[in-house]
Amino acid sequence: MSNLKGWKEIPIGGVIDKPATSRLYKTGEWRVSRPVIDREVCINCMQCWLYCPDMSIEGSIEGKRMKLGEFKMEYCKGCGVCAAVCPVNAIVMKPESEFIDE
């Protein structure tokens, strides 16, 4: 705990004075399996984007169309909800052991 701040250095009252600081905590380390998406099959409906409990999927509007972006592995906990809600089965969950060299 020696690298933690002392009592004179932190805001009073337990206030966290900045928003969204939990992004510094990488929940991706919890993952035991990861989503792999087949972009050919994906219809960019964004269902997985909406459902991801960890806001780990990016999305964008390109012109008139929605486009599914990257799956952010630093936060993805590998729950598989994205695969379960995908209407076209474009996402499969694969064991993390297959990606051990990455």
Binding site: P19, A20, S22, L24, K26, M55, S60, I61, M66, V85
Partner: protein
């Protein structure tokens, strides 16, 4: 009502209101509720100020110095999120009256689990609703004290195993029905109250918008599985809540100042047994010799509840108790 495009557009050009790095279990449905509620508000142009009762959502999203909230947030205690938010809302009115703040976009959202809503926080909730504060209360209902390891709450359904009323050789476990919390809230009359589920995000979004626009207290009870203690696979929470609607276990309806409306009417229903047997928390129940009797009772109950809802809808159509708070 925001559509998927609006939401994607909002996040791309702004940010999530509820962010990555929270420590809720993989597959938990609570963050969906928190995300959708705040995102709906943001995309509609509101500035949500959020209060959360002690519980999973609270402990997992704000571990000092980490916060997953990208909007103003307060946690006070377990039983008082409604009172706390009512104070913040009163402050908003006062500071606006006194011209100390110039912001018409703020909306107050209180979020509590079933323990903090059905049980220990019920008085605080009732008081805040009765006083007519302008706030939206969102219940994420996982039917037990899941944060502390599956203790029984007033929302735990009959037959579900829990650590404080376990099914054992001499006990059938909890046999009492869960409280009909939306009816309790509707009993305050001058209120908007609704049920929702994680499998119906657009039904939720519409209700959220209605709740935000409602000038007074609004309440949405969202069935949001705890994958851990419902003993279901991490990825199946949404599938399970879909079944809950299809079996009449958790009908989708709303109450607006005396008027009942069923917001989803499936053409056919599945037997409630399909829902029950999907959840590992009922495994012990299903092994009991009287399991079928209990199931039959439950089926009769959900049938009667459904019929009652339809009757209420018919009875109260175009007959609000009042038109403003």
């Amino acid at each position: 009502m925001p559509n998927i495009r609006d939401l994607v557009d909002y996040v791309e050009n702004n940010d999530w209101a509820f962010t990555q790095g929270h420590r809720l279990c993989p597959g938990c449905n609570a963050p969906m509720v928190a995300n959708w509620a705040t995102l709906a508000a943001k995309s509609l142009g509101y500035e949500p100020v959020v209060g959360v009762a002690t519980g999973c959502l609270e402990v997992s999203t704000t571990i000092f110095p980490y916060t997953s909230w990208n909007v103003p947030y307060i946690h006070n205690a377990f039983e008082n999120v409604a009172a706390t938010i009512s104070g913040a809302e009163a402050a908003y009115r006062s500071l606006k009256n006194r011209k100390k703040i110039d912001n018409d976009k703020i909306k107050f959202i209180a979020i509590g689990g079933d323990g903090g809503t059905y049980d220990i926080g019920l008085q605080s909730l009732s008081g805040a609703i009765e006083r007519g504060h302008d706030f939206v209360y969102i219940l994420y209902d996982n039917e037990g004290y899941m944060n502390t390891g599956n203790q029984r709450s007033g929302s735990t359904p009959p037959g579900a195993d829990s650590t404080t009323e376990p099914i054992g050789k001499a006990s059938s476990g909890k046999l009492q029905l869960k409280k009909s919390i939306v009816d309790i809230v509707a009993g305050h009359e001058g209120v908007y109250a609704a049920t929702a589920v994680t499998s119906e995000p657009w039904d939720f979004m519409r209700k959220m918008q209605q709740a935000l626009e409602f000038r007074g207290p609004a309440f949405i009870a969202v069935l949001a599985p705890c994958v851990r203690f419902w003993r279901i696979p991490d990825d199946s929470g949404v599938e399970v809540t879909k079944l809950a609607v299809e079996t009449k276990y958790w009908p989708l309806w709303e109450y607006n100042m005396g008027v009942y409306k069923v917001t989803k009417k499936p053409k056919t229903f599945k037997p409630v047994k399909e829902y029950i047997t999907k959840l590992g928390r009922y495994n012990k129940l299903m092994k009991r010799p009287d399991a079928n009797e209990i199931l039959e009772e439950l089926q009769n109950y959900v049938n009667a509840k459904w019929d009652r809802l339809l009757a209420l809808e018919e009875l109260t159509k175009d007959k609000p108790l009042r038109t403003k708070i």
